[in-house]
Amino acid sequence: MALDANSEAFVAFERVQKSYDGETLVVKDLNLSMPKGEFLTMLGPSGSGKTTCLMMLAGFETATHGEIMLDGTPINNIPPHKRGIGMVFQNYALFPHMTVAENLSFPLEVRKIGKSDREAKVKRALDMVQMGEFGGRRPAQLSGGQQQRIALARALVFEPELVLMDEPLGALDKQLREHMQFEITRLAHDLGITTVYVTHDQTEALTMSDRVAVFNDGRIQQLAPPDQLYEEPENSFVAQFIGENNTMEGTIKEITGERTCLVELDGGATIAARPVNVSQPGERTRVSIRPERVEMDRSRLQDGVHLLKAEVLEFVYMGDIFRTRLRVAGNSDFVVKTRNAPDQRRLKKGEVVEIGWLPEDCRALDA
């Protein structure tokens, strides 16, 4: 069954381990398979092993154990230049002594493609990233965003089926980064390329990917589409890492059903939550709730939900939303985000309000 799934996969990691020093594992037992045409993002804090995975796929690092397959063939022993994988590097790695056109024609030259063919492909690739005018420039004469486009064009010019990107937008300012995120996804989808994208920026991961693999401590913590990742985190690391999140420690009091349980918070109150990776009463848990899912208007809540008293500690006006910091059940970092709607009240510091939420929005995760 597993074998069948892998044989359909375009890229597959099978029980891959990696150690640099022979003592600690940087990548622990990695299993991952990607269908053709997917845009997959490896997201994780630095040192989580995501870049190592990318480098193993590119061939710059060898797996200590396990098999990496590309289109059904193991590639562990194939040198990087024979893998035919396009790659965009963090600082673009545009060759400074070559012009933009020369940079682009380099992968074609080493593939011994004829001159006229080469020129046509370079031109097409430059047009694709809207940089047709810049063929004669040196990389140093381009802005960061322009260099980024060229790096992208260079990785795509030899028409690879798989493209790897190692934090390619890290050096750009916010506005440019958002624009390039859109461009990269558009290109990847238009060309039908399979893309592995490494980043530590969760917004980037959520907005661009078909699926996101959250890395921590050498393992994939969760592999899921962005919405699922955000709304249904499988463990507290993912819940913490993706988006803003309120957590409260507590103990499982009672499992009331397959989808509900009661949690007694350390602060004293009891709330209803959805059990995710807890199974027994008495187990320690960490409940997590998104700031925008907390409701302060009683009328919008169903009857019978647990309500908690909260003291307003801080009210921040952020334009589109209000961000209110509350003390709830002993947790003074509880954040609520409310839309800046005409009927939305602006709370004052020291005010005491009642808050509540739908039980399914509150997830009881591992402690």
Binding site: F60, H81, N91, A93, F95, H97, F106, P107
Partner: protein, 566 residues
Amino acid sequence: MSDTTQTGPIPDKPATGDETGKHGEMLSADGRSLKSSLNRALRRQKLRALMLIAPLLIFVLVTFIAPIADMLFRSVENDIVTNTLPGTVEALDDWDHSVGEAPGEGVYDALYFDLFLAAEAKEHTKLGTRLNYEQTGLSSLFRSSGRGLDDVGDDYLDALEEVDERWGEGDFVYRLMTGTGPSETGFVADRVRVLEKMTSETLPGDVGFAPSEEIRQLLPATTLAYTDFATFTALVEEDVVAEEDPWEAVYVGLIEDLQTADVASYSGPEAEALQAAKAADIPLVPLKQFFADEDGDWLDPNVWATIQTYSPKYTSGYFLNAVDMQLTPDGISMRPENQQIYLKLFKRTMFMSLVITGSCILLGYPVAWLLANLPASRANLLMILVLLPFWTSLLVRTSAWKVMLQQQGVINDVLVWLGLVDDMNRLVMINNQFGTIVAMTHILLPFMILPLYSVMQGIPPTYLRAAKSLGATNWTAFWRVYFPQSVPGIGAGSILVFILSIGYYITPEIVGGTTGTFISNRIAYHISSSLNWGLAAALGSILLAVVLLLYWAYDRIVGIDNVKLG
């Protein structure tokens, strides 16, 4: 608008800080122009900065720049001929060497008196040495002739003393030469200057003698010789002129003068003695004849042509000599084949420096690569090994190569022991070009590795990865991507090694033998052994020019800004 009608120079409002001056110049608060205020404010800073570097600046100027400039100036300086033989050079002015005949009596005349003074001041041998660079044999010609100058004068004195015993007495001649009436103090001052130039010394003090105008007119040659005698006696030997016996040259001048002088009408002191001497009609020996008797070479027009060619104060002769050419009376020509060594040496220096630079690149590049790509701890260890030679004396390292490379040395022994080389045919690896190249490559290698290393450190490894991910093999990635970026390092290392090696002296001197020496060894030879400093300076100037030219070319091609030394 009413302001514009005012024509007087006084403004209707007092100047304020932000006001613009009459010519649109910005003014500062006190009404001065902003520019001069700024300059004043910055002057203090500049002065302080200057004071900080002043000690080093003065030290460098005094001990380094000035001596080098002085040394380089010697390559064109040539005033020794005019300073030693001022009269001769003047007399030789209208002699034409192309006629192929020795100059007339007048030149020999001037030569005699010039040479006599020079011989007394012991300057004539220096001139001989100088001219000997241009024509061999002139040194001994000047030296031997200097010794015989007294003889002719002695003969005249004997003849004069037969007429009047007093001719040999100092005070008698002094009285005669001093004469009466207005005296020629300007003439004495002129001769003092001649002596000063010849001896390169300043001679203060009073001569205590001046000939009268009358006696100078009557006995011009005698006056010249006696004035020289007087100045030399008073200023150099610091004796009283009247108490010393006059030089023999005085009598030579006297006999010459007596041939034409109208002494009968002269009435100054000792006029009768003079008339008696004239009456004795002592036969004159022409000085041309005298010099011809001393040494036949004095009649050789080539000798005179050489003197004439090298009489200007500045000469291109040393430089021409340094490139195997010579300045002949007929113009510039190549030296004979068997005397040409400098061009060959320059070429050899260039060639060997290139070979040394090349082998430094070949050996240093992989080491620098390794240094730049190893983890820091091991790279540091390797760096210490690279720098190790710097902590050992240059002499020791060179001598070590002598031990290694000689025929009974370590390498030959090993090769013989391994059976690769026959004991009878041990390899000659020292005292030739091979030895110099090996030793200098070793010594200069760190100068190649360090700039290479610093440039390579700045090349991120992602470039190589990028190239490989784009499909380049290891070699293509290196050659097309890494190597072009390391070229500034190669350039910096090469220029450093090349410039250091073309001026290298100690190592080629010790291990170079005869075929492995550099131009610098020849310069050292001229400085310390042959004492031909002019030629040494010319060779050095050419070397300096070549280095500057290379530096300039490098700046144009690679750009000095790209050079990274660490």
